[in-house]
C-alpha cells in the first residue's frame, strides 16, 4: 500500500471545446441506426442524472417503437441540492448536448426535441436560443428534420422527475405518473420519448466522436466513463470537476477535503451520507453485481467537516423534501412531514430517542411504497445520517 497522496486524474472530455461539431455530426448521421445504437450500448453509458438507466437501451427501446410521433427531451431541470454541473455544460458546450439530441432523434425518428430548462436558469435562455438557431442551420445543411425548443420550468424540484416533467410540459400540474408505462413507450403527450440528462447527452457526443472504446476505457466495471462532479461544502477548491467513475470516497476526500472531513453527502439531498469510517470502502459509481458498495450520483458531492452538525444537515434536507414533495402520494407527502417534525421532537426531548427507530421504519415504508423516486429516496439520507450520527440527533 502506498502512502503518497494520489491526485485523482482530471478528465477533459466534456468541456473540451470542439470546432468540428458539424463534421462529427455529419459522420454520426451517416452511420446506420443499428451501428449507433450498438456503439451507445457498448460504451456502457448510464444516465448521468442520478438514476443510472443504460442510455443505449433507452434509445434502442424508443427506436423500436412503431409510433409515428416521438420526442427527444433534454432534462435540464437541475434541481438536486448541491448539483450545478448541467448549468455549466449548457453554457459552455451546448452544441454537444444538441448534437446528442440530434443523433438520438435520427435513430428514433423523432422530429421534435425540447430542453426542459430549470426556471432558475432563465438567464441561460438568450445564449441557448442563439446556439439552437445556429444548430438548426447545421441540421438544415445536413438534411435532418429535427427542431429543438426550450421549455422553461417553474421552479418545482419534482419536475425533474421525468414523468412529472412531461405533465408539466403538457400544461398540467407536475405530478409523477404511474409506471409502467415507461417514457420509451408513453412519454410526452403519451408518445415514445427519450429523456436524457444534459450530461448524458454531452457524453453521447464524446462517444460518437471517439467511439465506445475510449469511453469504456475510463471508469470501472459497471460504471464506465467519466462524470462531471459538482463539489461543494467544506473544501478549499469547490467547483466543477470531470473525474473517472470508480474512485473511493477516500480518494475523493484526499483530493478535495480540507483535512478535517467528517462526512460526504454523495448524490445530493436524495443521496447518501458517507461517514469517515466508510470512506475507504465506498466507491462512486453505479450499483452493480461487480462494483459492490457503490453510490450512484448525479454528481453532487457535499463535503462536511467536523464543525458541521449532522442534525442541522438532516433538518435542512427534510425541510427541503417536505416542501418539494409534489404532495400527491401519502408516504411522501405525510412521511416527509413526520420525519421533519419527528427529528425536531426528539431533539427537543418531546419524543423518546427510540422514536428515531420508528422513523427509520417509516423511511423503509416510504422507500417501498412512494410513487416516485423522490419519496423513495428520502430514506437514503435519513437512514445514513441517523445510523451514523445518532448521538448528534439526540444531544
Amino acid at each position: 500500500m502506498t502512502t503518497t497522496k494520489k491526485q485523482l486524474h482530471r478528465i477533459d472530455l466534456i468541456f473540451k471545446n470542439d470546432e468540428d461539431c458539424k463534421e462529427i455530426l455529419r459522420k454520426a448521421l451517416s452511420k446506420p441506426n443499428q451501428e449507433i445504437i450498438n456503439e451507445m450500448v457498448n460504451s456502457g453509458l448510464k444516465g448521468r442524472g442520478g438514476a443510472g438507466f443504460p442510455t443505449g437501451l433507452k434509445w434502442k427501446l424508443t427506436a423500436e417503437s412503431k409510433e409515428k410521433d416521438k420526442y427527444v427531451i433534454c432534462n435540464a431541470d437541475e434541481g438536486e441540492p448541491g448539483t450545478f454541473k448541467d448549468r455549466e455544460i449548457l453554457s459552455r458546450v451546448p452544441h454537444k448536448v444538441l448534437s446528442g439530441m440530434a443523433v438520438c432523434a435520427k435513430i428514433t425518428g423523432a422530429r421534435k426535441g425540447f430542453i426542459y430548462l430549470r426556471g432558475e436558469y432563465k438567464f441561460l435562455v438568450p445564449e441557448l436560443k442563439k446556439e439552437i438557431r445556429k444548430f438548426h442551420d447545421i441540421l438544415d445543411d445536413l438534411g435532418l428534420d429535427f427542431r429543438v425548443e426550450i421549455f422553461l420550468g417553474s421552479g418545482a424540484y419534482i419536475c425533474g422527475e421525468e414523468s412529472a416533467l412531461f405533465e408539466s410540459m403538457e400544461g398540467k400540474r407536475g405530478e409523477p405518473r404511474n409506471k409502467p408505462p415507461f417514457p420509451t413507450e408513453c412519454g410526452y403527450l403519451n408518445k415514445p420519448t427519450v429523456i436524457n440528462n444534459v450530461e448524458t447527452l454531452a457524453h453521447s457526443y464524446t462517444i460518437l466522436k471517439f467511439g465506445a472504446q475510449k469511453f469504456r476505457d475510463l471508469g470501472v466495471k459497471d460504471s464506465r466513463g467519466s462524470k462531471v462532479f459538482s463539489v461543494s461544502g467544506d473544501t478549499p477548491i469547490p467547483g466543477i470537476y470531470e473525474l473517472e467513475l470508480g474512485m473511493t470516497v477516500q480518494d475523493f476526500v484526499d483530493d478535495f477535503g480540507d483535512g478535517d472531513t467528517k462526512a460526504v453527502q454523495v448524490g445530493g439531498a436524495s443521496g447518501f451520507l458517507v461517514p469517515r469510517k466508510r470512506f475507504a470502502k465506498t466507491t462512486i459509481g453505479y450499483q452493480g453485481k461487480l462494483t459492490g458498495i457503490s453510490l450512484p450520483t448525479g454528481g453532487s458531492m457535499m463535503i462536511f467537516n467536523s464543525s458541521r452538525s449532522m442534525y442541522n444537515v438532516l433538518n435542512n434536507y427534510l425541510d427541503f423534501f417536505e416542501e418539494e414533495s409534489c404532495g400527491q402520494c401519502t408516504p411522501c407527502r405525510v412521511g416527509c412531514q413526520q420525519l421533519l417534525k419527528g427529528i425536531r421532537a426528539v431533539k427537543r426531548g418531546e419524543k423518546p430517542t427510540s422514536y428515531l427507530d420508528k422513523l427509520m421504519k417509516l423511511t423503509e415504508t416510504m422507500k417501498l411504497t412512494a410513487k416516485c423516486g423522490l419519496g423513495q429516496s428520502v430514506a437514503n439520507s435519513f437512514s445514513s445520517i441517523v445510523e451514523n450520527f445518532r448521538e448528534e440527533m439526540i444531544y
Binding site: 418545482a156 419534482i158 400540474r173 405530478e175 404511474n178 409502467p180 423534501f321 417536505e322 416542501e323 418539494e324 414533495s325 409534489c326 404532495g327 400527491q328 402520494c329 401519502t330 408516504p331 407527502r333 405525510v334 412521511g335 416527509c336 412531514q337 413526520q338 417534525k341 419527528g342 421532537a345 419524543k351 420508528k358 421504519k361 417509516l362 415504508t365 422507500k367 417501498l368 411504497t369 412512494a370 410513487k371 423513495q376
Partner: protein, 596 residues
C-alpha cells in the same frame, strides 16, 4: 378474444384478460385489496398507496390499482411487509386528518374510518399534524360544505369534477405539506364555477365534502304547532332511499317512504312527480310553441334546440359555460320549484292555510336543489317557494333518528291534492325520462294517437350511454297541428356534464341540430344524483334505473296529461299551459355567470 395473462395471487393461479390491473385480477379471486383513491367511475390515480402489494422480484411494493398484470407475475397481497406498510400509510393519513369521528357528518360512512377499524389503528403515535395546518372549512354555499381537515388528498373529487362533470371547480393547489384541494384563488364553492351537483360528495371517501344539512331546521318546523309542513318527494328518492336503510340497490320503497314521512310528522306528504307531470304540460307546450314560431311564423330568432331545465346542476353549468345558449333553456322551473310555488298558492288556498304559515320541504336525490331553492328568483308565490331541501341521505338520517323500522312499514299513499302522479312523472328520475314523458304527451296532443312504441316504452332514449339520440317522425297530425306534419322531431339526451359539454360543443360547431335536448347533470340522471346514498357505480345505477322503469310500468296512469290532478289544477287555478298565471308561478329566467 383478447390475450389472457397467467399470474398467481397469494399462491392461487389465475388467468385474466390482458390489460387488467392486479386489483381487478384479485377481485376475480375474491381477494379484497383495500383502496382509497380508487373509484370505478374514475381514472386511476395511484396516489394513496393503500393498495400496495408485493411482487416477487420487485424490490419495491407496487400499487395494485395502477399496475397491469403481466405473464408469470407472483403477487402477495397480505405479506408482513405489505401489512406493515399499509398500516403505516393509514396512520400517516390519520395524522393529517382531524380525527373527530364521533362529531363527523360522515361518521359511519367513512372509508378511512372503516380502514382504520379494519387495521386496528389503536396505538398510532406519529405526531398530530393538524394543529399546524391552518385548515379551512367552507360553509358558505347553501348546498355543499368543504372541510379541508377531513381531506385525504385522494383527488377523487378533483377527478370527478373534471372527468365526469367537465367543470373543474376544484383542483389541486400548492405542493408538499401544503398541497390541498382548492378552488379558484381559494374562493368559496359558492363563488366559483361549482354547479352544486354533489358528485364530489358521492365520490369523497371521507367527510371532506358533504351536503349542507337542513335536518335540524326541518325537525324544528315539524315541532312547531303553528306551521303546516308539507313535503314533496322527488322520483329518484323512492328507488334510492332503501339503500341507506339496509335494503339492496334498486329496491322500490315508495309506499314505505310515504309511511315513514307521515310518521316523522309532516302534515302532508305529497309528490314532486305531480309537478313533473305539470312540467311536461308546460314544457311540452313551450316546445310546440317554439316549433310553431320557427316553422309557421318563420321566426328565425326562436331558440332551438330547446333544452330541459329540470336539473339545477345543468342550469348552473350552462349559466357559467354556455351563457350564449340561455335563451335555449326552457323557461319552465324545475318540478321542485313548480311544486314550491303552488304549495304556497294553489295548495294553501285549497287547504285554507295562510301561505306564511306553510313550510315547504322537499326530499331530493340532489344537492344542487338546495342551491336552486335559494335562488333569488324562486319567490314567485310571494314567499320562499321551497324552504328546505333535504337529500335522500338526510331523510334516511331522520328516519333512523325517529326510530322507525323502515323495512317493517306497510305501504301508504300520498296525500292529496298534488299527490297523484303518473309513470311519466316517475321516469323524470332517470336519464331520458323527461324526454320520454314529453314525447308520450306531445305526440298524443299533436296526432291524437299514442307514441308508436310498445307499451309506451321509448327505448332509444333509455340506457346509461353518455349521449343518446332519437328522432320521431310526426304523421297524421290533427288539424291545428298540421304544420308539424311530416316533421322529424330530433332529440338528444345526455347525462353527466362531461357529456353535456360534448353535446353543446357539437351543437355550437354546427355538427348536430336538434329540436329538443334533455340534459341531466348527474351520471344516470337523478337516480345517480349527488344526494343519493353511497357508494355508487354503474352497477348500482343500473339497478336503480330498472327500479324506476318498474315503477312506471306498475302505475295505472303513465301519461302526464291524463293525471286527473293536472286536469284539475288547470281547471281550478292555472287555466291553461303558458297562461299568465302559470308564467308568473311556473316559469323563470336565468343569469350569465363567470367562467371560473
Amino acid at each position: 378474444m383478447s390475450n389472457m395473462v397467467n399470474l398467481s395471487i397469494n399462491g392461487i393461479a389465475v388467468s385474466v384478460k390482458e390489460g387488467l390491473t392486479i386489483l381487478e385480477a384479485a377481485e376475480k379471486l375474491h381477494i379484497k385489496i383495500p383502496t382509497l383513491c380508487y373509484h370505478k367511475d374514475l381514472c386511476i390515480a395511484g396516489n394513496c398507496r393503500v393498495c400496495v402489494v408485493e411482487q416477487t422480484g420487485n424490490n419495491k411494493l407496487v400499487a395494485s390499482c395502477a399496475t397491469p398484470v403481466s405473464e408469470g407475475m407472483e403477487i402477495n397481497t397480505n405479506s408482513l411487509k405489505v401489512r406493515n406498510c399499509r398500516k403505516h400509510i393509514i396512520e400517516l393519513l390519520l395524522t393529517e386528518h382531524r380525527e373527530e369521528c364521533t362529531k363527523c357528518y360522515r361518521n359511519g360512512h367513512c372509508e378511512l374510518q372503516e380502514l382504520s377499524a379494519e387495521f386496528q389503528i389503536t396505538n398510532q403515535d406519529f405526531i398530530d399534524l393538524v394543529p399546524d395546518k391552518n385548515y379551512t372549512v367552507d360553509r358558505i354555499s347553501p348546498a355543499i360544505e368543504k372541510d379541508d381537515s377531513k381531506c385525504i388528498r385522494c383527488q377523487r373529487c378533483v377527478r370527478t369534477c373534471a372527468e365526469i362533470q367537465s367543470v373543474g371547480a376544484i383542483a389541486v393547489s400548492h405542493k408538499g405539506s401544503e398541497m390541498k384541494i382548492s378552488t379558484f384563488f381559494d374562493r368559496s364553492l359558492d363563488e366559483v364555477v361549482c354547479t352544486n351537483c354533489g358528485q364530489c360528495i358521492v365520490h369523497c371517501p371521507t367527510g371532506a365534502l358533504t351536503e349542507k344539512s337542513y335536518v335540524e331546521k326541518v325537525w324544528d318546523a315539524i315541532a312547531d304547532p303553528d306551521v303546516h309542513v308539507v313535503v314533496q318527494t322527488a322520483p329518484a328518492v323512492r328507488i334510492g332511499l332503501g339503500e341507506e336503510l339496509g335494503l339492496g340497490s334498486g329496491t322500490r320503497v315508495t309506499g314505505k317512504m310515504v309511511a315513514a314521512l307521515k310518521r316523522l310528522g309532516f302534515d302532508s306528504v305529497l309528490d314532486t312527480d305531480f309537478t313533473a307531470d305539470l312540467t311536461i304540460m308546460e314544457e311540452g307546450t313551450e316546445l310546440l310553441t317554439r316549433l310553431k314560431r320557427a316553422l309557421v311564423d318563420g321566426d328565425t330568432e326562436v331558440a332551438l334546440p330547446m333544452a330541459t331545465s329540470c336539473s339545477p346542476g345543468w342550469v348552473k353549468y350552462i349559466e357559467h359555460k354556455y351563457p350564449e345558449y340561455l335563451p335555449n333553456l326552457s323557461t319552465c322551473k324545475s318540478p321542485q320549484q313548480m311544486f314550491g310555488a303552488l304549495a304556497k298558492t294553489y295548495y294553501a288556498k285549497n287547504i285554507d292555510v295562510e301561505p306564511q304559515n306553510i313550510v315547504s320541504v322537499s326530499i331530493m336525490p340532489c344537492t344542487a336543489k338546495k342551491f336552486e331553492a335559494n335562488r333569488p328568483e324562486m319567490k314567485d308565490s310571494g314567499y320562499k317557494d321551497v324552504d328546505y331541501v333535504l337529500t335522500t341521505r338526510e331523510l334516511a338520517v331522520m328516519i333512523k333518528q325517529a326510530g322507525i323500522e323502515f323495512e317493517k312499514l306497510n305501504d301508504e299513499h300520498f296525500d292529496s291534492i298534488m299527490g297523484v302522479s303518473t309513470g311519466a312523472g316517475v321516469i323524470f328520475g332517470v336519464t331520458g325520462g323527461v324526454m320520454e314523458a314529453a314525447l308520450r304527451t306531445a305526440y298524443e296532443i299533436v296526432t291524437g294517437r299514442e307514441v308508436p312504441f310498445d307499451n309506451l316504452e321509448i327505448t332509444p332514449v333509455r340506457g346509461l350511454a353518455g349521449v343518446k339520440e332519437a328522432s320521431i317522425q310526426i304523421t297524421g297530425t290533427k288539424k291545428e297541428w298540421n304544420f308539424l306534419e311530416g316533421v322529424e322531431l330530433k332529440c338528444a339526451i345526455t347525462n353527466g356534464l362531461q357529456n353535456a359539454h360534448k353535446l353543446m360543443e357539437a351543437i355550437k360547431n354546427g355538427e348536430r341540430t336538434y329540436h329538443f335536448i334533455e340534459i341531466m347533470a348527474c351520471p344516470g340522471g337523478c337516480l345517480g344524483g349527488g344526494g343519493q346514498p353511497f357508494p355508487v357505480d354503474n352497477e348500482v345505477r343500473l339497478k336503480r334505473m330498472q327500479a324506476i322503469y318498474e315503477e312506471d310500468r306498475n302505475l295505472p296512469i303513465r301519461k302526464s296529461h291524463e293525471n286527473p290532478e293536472i286536469v284539475q289544477v288547470y281547471q281550478d287555478f292555472l287555466e291553461e299551459p303558458l297562461s299568465h298565471k302559470s308564467h308568473k308561478l311556473l316559469h323563470t329566467s336565468y343569469v350569465k355567470r363567470e367562467q371560473y
